[in-house]
Amino acid sequence: MIKFFLMVNKQGQTRLSKYYEHVEINKRTVLETEVIKSCLSRSSEQCSFIEYKDFKLIYRQYAALFIVVGVNDTENEMAVYEFIHNFVEVLDEYFSRVIMFNLDKVHIILDEMLLNGCIVETNRARILAPLLILDKMSES
């Protein structure tokens, strides 16, 4: 199961974080900095899967943004790697441009896709349906 989902920029600042297992708030920042350090120090030649303490980190870089997912042993790493890409595609479709100012919407999308560490939905249309309705409601 997925333990956490992070979006970090190249300078190491967290843009989004979602934990599916309880981690103390001060430990979170430490965890995030360590994770980011290990991901940033890898070159593009190297493998996208890192072993860190007792989980595995799977990361993917998109321009200036890193998406890092921490999983436990039972997950198929490559499936998670695909999932990250799927998530980015959904975000692309909904936000045509800069994402980060609408953090709550990103959270909503993530919630539609991952529940309690497991993948719920991977179909773009279905994920975005509640969001579009929400938008229509708030406009009216």
Partner: protein, 825 residues
């Protein structure tokens, strides 16, 4: 009060902060504004404020004052409010806060709401952070939603059910009837989550697993779904790079794995589909490889036929050749898992694996190293070792220790000849000397002792190795020991295997002395060197005076260990010169002790009979705990010999563990054997004494009767009595049996008895009969202590008692001086 700023503005502002301090200031200002806004109970902007609070929480600032606000938002009727409220609940609250219980009612109402999106929200939140009480209350609602026809809700309900089952496993039965129809859905989302639910149920309960196999005919259904996915043409909804819904495929394969494990029927039903997936999936993209990976794992786990297994391993072999690092990593991991069962098949790919050792990527190198060790066998040992030694030279420091230990193990098991073995060890010591684990040194010493014909060759090579450079401690320790033992062979130039070198006694002593003086030597190494010099006094003929001088210099060394050794050796020269040659004789060939290796690489054997006591083993590094120092200090600093607890096979681990903690420098673990003691020299002449005590039970047959027993300790209702026995055959041994009794009205639990004696004695503590002293003198704890008293000195003992009584932990120290003369004279 002006309208609070939007989240967007806040993010923009915070992004402009250039330092941490600036950011903190902005956040604090905003927090203050939010707090005052909350106090005003302003409904319209609450949503916005909570959103900002969540952002700040993500950055790491405390946001607990927003928790109640989240609840208020949840209770509101507007969807936007509810949305943010639930999000806040998921992020800020968890089981540990009491506040979350207040949500239960809200969630219950929302689960029955008319709008599906609200129901969905509630399910999502419950599924993420519901505590066991909440789950118990709301499980019924979840189950109802699992049966609806609305696919949006069904999929969420399924995952919520997974969470409920995780929290409250007893409720699993409740969800069983709902699962019957889950797999008949067309909607992939529902299918996916149902598979997850089924997986969770099967993993948790073997009964469920059996039920699903037999009654539900789950396997055929899954096979059917998988087939549809593969065979169906392009479907735009689920397509990812040409493959139809790979996520679902992977999930189904995983469930099939669980169903097929250890079950022949199910495995047979799956064989076809697995073969089909394995052959038809396109491998040009990552997606295809992900599916193939999962397929391979499944094939390996179930009882598949051999053709299928070969297919799987070939797929892995193909992965290894792929350029993509991720795939290679994944292949190496799976090969590691299968190497135990399908050894031969994996051997075929050995050369590729060995190539991976040269890869730049750390994760791949680690996997390749582990796999290489698993593949080493008698046939390929020479070639593999060459590669591994080359790897050891060039790898990162974090690998060196593991690699060195692995090489030692492999060499030990498969060495084709003794000389090769020793050469390999030498190579490891010289290249990665400082990373070798501490326990490798005694093992190596034993190995060298046992290869009798190689002594001259070994000592010569070691001497040459440290001539140039004596900074690598393990190498120096082994070399010092060997030179001490076989110095005569070195000087006489008798080596057959190699060109003998001309070394004089003085040169040897030079090197040993420089090790003693060097700043790079640890005190352990110095101990080795000093003892080696001492041993040479019997082996060398012309330099005895020089040795005497060196030894006496160190009699005043600051290092306590060196001082003790030097003083004793000095005494050996002065008073006991007649014993010197006998004491410093060559070490006998030691019994083969199977060793503990790094457990991640090879199956290990536990330590069996301990090696006979060595005179100069290293105490493993600086480790005295403060407790150890206390007890030792009490008896006057230098003159302590630590207790060696010996362990018969069944033993309460806790008692042993505390004893070990107390007395620090014994290298024992959970399944201990008696460690070699840093014994004083006179003890060599009776090495196996204590070990004899191990194999036979303590009480002698020919005891001297009539030694009065004493009450060693009596305080707070706890009384400890000592009874004595002595043997005619071995008059320096006294066996003391202690009996602990308790006259208070409450039991004393976790009772631990520890003892220490002055240096001239040796003490051995056997395990107690129990750790509870029952009240009202209804029973006693018995424990046996053996004391070796060769110098017939007055017996003194300091004891430490720890136990739990009346709910509190008690501890006491006492000295026992009233030993009857017959017990030690």
């Amino acid at each position: 009060m002006p309208a609070p700023i939007r989240l967007r503005e806040l993010i923009r502002t915070i992004r402009t902060a250039r330092t941490q301090a600036e950011e903190r200031e902005m956040i604090q200002k905003e927090c203050a504004a939010i707090r005052s806004s909350f106090r005003e109970e302003d409904n319209t902007y609450r949503c916005r404020n909570v959103a900002k609070l969540l952002y700040m929480h993500m950055l790491g600032y405390p946001a607990h004052f927003g928790q109640l606000e989240c609840l208020k938002l949840i209770a509101s009727q507007k969807f936007t409010d509810k949305r943010i409220g639930y999000l806040g609940a998921m992020l800020l609250l968890d089981e540990r806060q009491d506040v979350h219980l207040l949500m239960t009612n809200c969630i219950k109402n929302d689960l029955n709401h008319s709008t599906q999106f609200v129901q969905g929200l509630a399910l999502c939140t419950l599924g993420c952070m519901g505590s066991s009480e909440m789950c118990r209350d709301l499980a019924g609602e979840v189950e109802k939603l699992l049966k609806t026809s609305n696919s949006y809700l069904r999929k969420k309900a399924a995952l919520c059910a997974v969470h409920v089952i995780r929290k409250v496993p007893e409720l699993m039965e409740m969800f069983l009837p709902a699962t019957k129809n889950l797999l008949n859905e067309k909607n992939h989302g529902v299918l996916h989550t149902s598979v997850v639910l089924l997986t969770e149920m099967c993993e948790r309960s073997p009964d469920m697993l059996a039920h699903f196999r037999k009654n539900e005919k789950l396997v055929p259904q899954l096979v059917r779904i998988l087939k549809n996915l593969i065979m169906s043409g392009y479907s735009p909804e689920h397509d990812v790079s040409g493959i139809s819904d790979p996520f679902l495929q992977v999930r189904i394969l995983r469930l099939l794995r669980i169903l097929g494990r250890n079950d022949d029927d199910s495995s047979e039903a799956m064989n076809d589909i697995l073969a089909q997936v394995a052959t038809n999936t396109e491998t040009s993209k990552n997606v295809g490889n992900a599916i193939l990976y999962e397929t391979v794992l499944t094939i390996m786990d179930i009882k598949s036929e051999s053709g299928l297994r070969v297919l799987a391993i070939n797929i892995l072999g193909r992965f290894l050749l792929n350029n993509d690092k991720n795939i290679r990593y994944v292949a190496l991991t799976s090969l590691l898992k299968t190497v135990q069962t399908d050894h031969n098949a994996v051997q075929r790919h050995r050369s590729t694996i060995v190539d991976c050792l040269k890869d730049l990527d750390v994760s791949i190198k680690r996997r390749a190293m582990e796999l290489s060790f698993a593949l080493v066998n008698g046939n390929n040992i020479r070639g593999m070792m060459k590669e591994l030694l080359y790897f050891l030279d060039s790898c990162e420091p974090e690998f060196k220790a593991d690699c060195a230990s692995g090489i030692f193990l492999a060499a030990e098991k498969y060495a084709p000849s003794k000389r090769w073995h020793i050469d390999t060890i030498m190579r490891v010591l010289t290249t990665a000397g400082s990373y070798v684990r501490d326990d490798a040194v005694p093992n190596l010493i034993q190995l060298i002792t046992n290869s009798v014909e190689m002594h001259a060759y070994t000592v010569q090579r070691l001497y040459k190795a440290i001539l140039g450079d004596y900074s690598q401690q393990p190498l120096v320790q082994v070399a010092a020991w060997c030179i001490g033992e076989y110095g005569d062979l070195l000087v006489s130039g008798q080596c057959e295997e190699e060109e003998p070198i001309q070394v004089t006694e003085d040169e040897v002593l030079d090197i040993l002395e420089s090790i003693l003086i060097s700043n790079m030597s640890t005190s352990v190494t110095r101990g080795y060197a000093l003892t080696a010099i001492m041993k040479l006094s019997t082996r060398f003929s012309c330099t005895v005076n020089r040795i005497k001088k060196v030894v006496s210099i160190y009699g005043s060394s600051i290092d306590v260990e060196l001082q003790q050794r030097a003083v004793e050796y000095n005494a050996l020269f002065k008073k006991y010169d007649h014993m010197r040659s006998a004491l410093l004789e060559r070490m006998p060939v030691m019994e083969k002790v199977t060793t503990n290796g790094p457990s991640e690489i090879v199956q290990t054997n536990g330590e069996t009979e301990p090696a006979p006591l060595e005179t100069k083993p290293p105490p493993s590094g600086p480790q005295p705990t403060s407790q150890a120092n206390d007890l030792l200090d009490l008896l006057g600093g230098n003159d302590i010999t630590p207790v060696i607890p010996t362990v018969p096979t069944s033993k309460p681990a806790s008692a042993g563990g505390e004893l070990l903690d107390l007395l620090g420098d014994i290298t024992l673990t959970g399944a201990p054997a008696a460690a070699p003691t840093p014994a004083s020299v006179p003890q060599i002449s009776q090495p196996p004494f204590l070990l004899d005590g191990l194999s036979s039970q303590p009480l002698f047959n020919d005891i001297t009767p009539g030694i009065p027993s004493i009450t060693a300790y009596s305080k707070n209702g706890l009384k400890i009595e000592f009874t004595f026995e002595r043997s005619n055959t071995n008059p320096s041994v006294t066996v003391i049996t202690i009996q602990a009794s308790n006259s208070t009205e409450l039991d004393m639990t976790d009772f631990v008895f520890q003892a220490a004696v002055p240096k001239t004695f040796q003490l051995q503590l056997l395990s107690p009969s129990s750790s509870v002293v029952p009240a009202f003198n209804t029973g006693t704890i018995t424990q046996v202590i053996k004391v070796l008293n060769p110098q017939k000195q007055q017996l003194r003992m300091r004891i430490k008692l720890t136990y739990n009584h009346k709910g509190s932990a008690m501890q006491d120290l006492a000295e026992v001086n009233n030993f009857p003369p017959q017990s030690w004279q």
